[in-house]
Amino acid sequence: MTSTRQGGQSLHLRGLTWHPHTRREPTIAGLDLDIAPGQRVLLTGASGSGKSTVLRALAGLLDEESGTAQGLPMPPRRPGERGLLLQNPAHALVAATLARDAAFGPENAALPREQIHDRAESALQEAGIDLDRSRAPLAVSGGQQQRIALAGSLALGPDLLLLDEPTSMLDADTAEQVRTAILAAAEGRTLVIAEHRIEPWLPHLDRLVVLGPQARILADGDPAEVLREHPDLLVGAGVLAETDATLRTERPPGPVIASLHGVTVPERGIRRPLDLEVRAGQLTVLTGPSGAGKTTALRTLLGPRRRLRGTVRRPARERIATVPQNPEHSFLARTVREELLASAWADDEALADELLERAGLADLARAHPYRLSGGEQRRVAIAAALAQGPDLLVLDEPTVGLDAGRRRAVLDLLREAAGKGCAVLVASHDPELIAAAENRLELPVPERTEEPLPHRRRIPADALNPLTLCLIGILAAIGSFAVHTWQGGLLAALPIALLGPLAVRSLRGGALRLTPILLSAAGLAWTTALLGEAPALSGPAWLLGLKEAARITVFVAPGVLALGSVDATSLGDALGGRLRLPARPVAASVVALVRVAHLGRQWEIITRTRIQRGLGSPASPKLLAGATLALLVDTLRGAEQQALAMDARGFATATTRTWAEPSRFGRADVLGALLGVGLLVWPAVAELLMR
């Protein structure tokens, strides 16, 4: 194997076979592939042909614990030698800020701190990112996320870039920007792309490889030649769409089922009044670039929203059926047929069976919905929505990530539903779907308004190392056990009231942290007065309750207030960089903790989708159980992708890694530690004073 700086890296696969333990058949059966240094290769083929698995093999990331392999290429000789970009960029993002995200690879490679910062910054620049480096990667747009993921790879100076459908979740304009960034970065490197939308890449390629089942090579050569000689192959693989002139069937418009009139939602960026009429028997498409407010418009149409201007008309709740972008977010049942009948508003078994037939799912009626392919899952979700017999069917990006054949199957289902008199409303940037719609509303390009960075007022607690803040809370909690009288307890609580403001950023934030403490202290007082040794609710029982309330406040309040200025990243720097706890578990924990806001958004989508489907109220144990399972499935599937992305950035071998930011101890920390000791002994002193 040879590698040159200018030309990138060459790769050779000889008889590559991959048999996952969970499959009956190998997914790759004897693949030979030679890629020359600097070559730009596109792998294409129908969904399930094994493109993604071939990329993983090339990256050296097939995990031999989960399958049997033969003919694997040599593993990378250094962390990040082969960069890998995935379909959903959110899976590649690991840190709380852009700067730290780009630094993740160099940290894993255990580079010295100055080099980490240089590498991260130049990678961000190379990927063309002009956002503030302190922004949260998971909170920016999909196109920006994919470029941040690209920067994450570039920070390790890869010789080879491997891309798995890097633009399939993006609208056309954004996809073009990301493609430009990728092609610029690929200069002087070997480039391998797995993709089923090939047209936009064609002018930039040296070579096109068409894969069939089990990654068998069906065609391989100059892109123009392959296209000329094997058009049938590409249509059959679902790579090129069949040409079909009669895509749209004009139907007389039916009555208006739902509408928006002069609607603005300024807080969500819809500032110009929006007018939309959704008619029975028609396919209506809501389109526009990312960030134009498609999802907001849909949600406004679907349910009540505060601070709304204009008028919204919609059918009764049970007459609306919705299909989320990720079908798994709404799944509940263990078989496809049960899934169709899961909603309280879907009780017509004959209709369900007819829909299974129409959606081509009859053979899968007893299959587990979560085990189906992406295209099948979309059809199940649509059939389940139609099983409600709705007047209005609303779908969010129902064709995203599907190949041409599967997109077509979804489109056929939607047109049939419209043909039967349903009003179908779709938010989409899929050109085919837009062309097939009778009625279109294009949302304008949003004015580029970057949300201002949240302002954090500096407080004295910020001067302390997170470990010192932890120590203060722990020492104070231990000290609280000295409280034995209500008088001593109240005196012991005094320094907390005096010092608390040093750790509180705003009045509201302080109240948010203190209210639960005071509520549980009150609850404890009540419980003690009721269930203590003294006669229930007598005078002495209440005094005992007051003592307990004071003691628990002294126990928890310092910790809760001090933790207010600790964030996951700085805590990780302290535990990993300062205390030298095992690097991989600490770094993985930080990755999980910075995803909490993202997980919260998923939880919100999942529960909302289920309530819209008529599966229960927010407090019903059944809905919560189903939503928890859906969140876990979503999270664990994501974990598999995240693990790949992280290992491609050198995490697998990062048992000794460096940390981009120092975790400093200063003079303030000496003061902080003294304060902690003070809080440790003060309750005992207070008891003596009150004796």
């Binding site: 969970t22 419980t527 003592k547 307990e548 993985a588 909490v596 876990l632 499935v633």
Partner: protein
């Protein structure tokens, strides 16, 4: 095999984080039994087992030493960072709840991942958590009530953590989301046998 691959580590910590998020939504469950717990606080122990779920799920799915403890610690850390009202008490609870489940699987030397072991884990966690709460939160509670609370804890640990956690792990295996983890591979072996 005790080495944590990246996916094992991530699944463990993400189970902790996902439950940390779901727990915020579970607060509504307490309103369901609100009237009962106002009159008789120990009844709140009936829901205690839910909080040990991250530990038992991580143990059943990842099947490596330390997974239960780590998942529960992440859920606890998350609760503390978000401002949960029990402050550093949460960290102690996290260690004891994760540790109880961990202990049950340790007793089988990480060879058995069955319903009885999961139930034992839930019961051990409940017992340890009760000792801590008795000591730190309810030292003044009279013994009869404290024993009643222990009963609620243990029942809840057995059912809501043990049985429910085991059922949830099975449901997860059925979805195919854990195919590349120990639990998923085990399911394939049983299906083929």
């Amino acid at each position: 095999m005790t080495r944590f691959r990246t996916i094992d580590l991530l699944v463990t910590v993400l189970i902790g984080a996902a439950f940390g998020v779901a727990f915020l939504g579970y607060g509504q469950l307490y309103t369901l039994i609100g009237p009962l717990t106002a009159a008789f606080k120990p009844a709140e122990g009936l829901l205690a087992g839910i909080w040990f779920l991250p530990a038992v799920l991580a143990a059943l799915i990842v099947r490596k030493p330390g997974a239960a403890l780590l998942a529960e610690m992440i859920a606890a850390t998350l609760e503390m960072l978000l401002g949960g009202q029990w402050g550093w008490g949460t960290a102690v609870s996290g260690v004891l709840q994760g540790g109880g489940v961990e202990l049950a699987f340790l007793l089988t030397r990480y060879r058995r991942f069955t319903l009885p072991v999961a139930v034992l884990g839930g019961v051990l966690s409940a017992a340890l958590e009760w000792v801590w709460e008795r000591f730190a939160y309810y030292p003044e509670m009279s013994w009869p009530f404290a024993i009643a609370m222990l009963g609620c804890f243990v029942v809840s640990g057995a059912f809501l953590c043990g049985v429910l956690g085991w059922a949830a792990a099975r449901s997860l295996v059925a979805t195919g989301a854990v195919d590349s983890l120990a639990a998923g591979r085990d399911q394939v072996r049983t299906a083929e046998a």
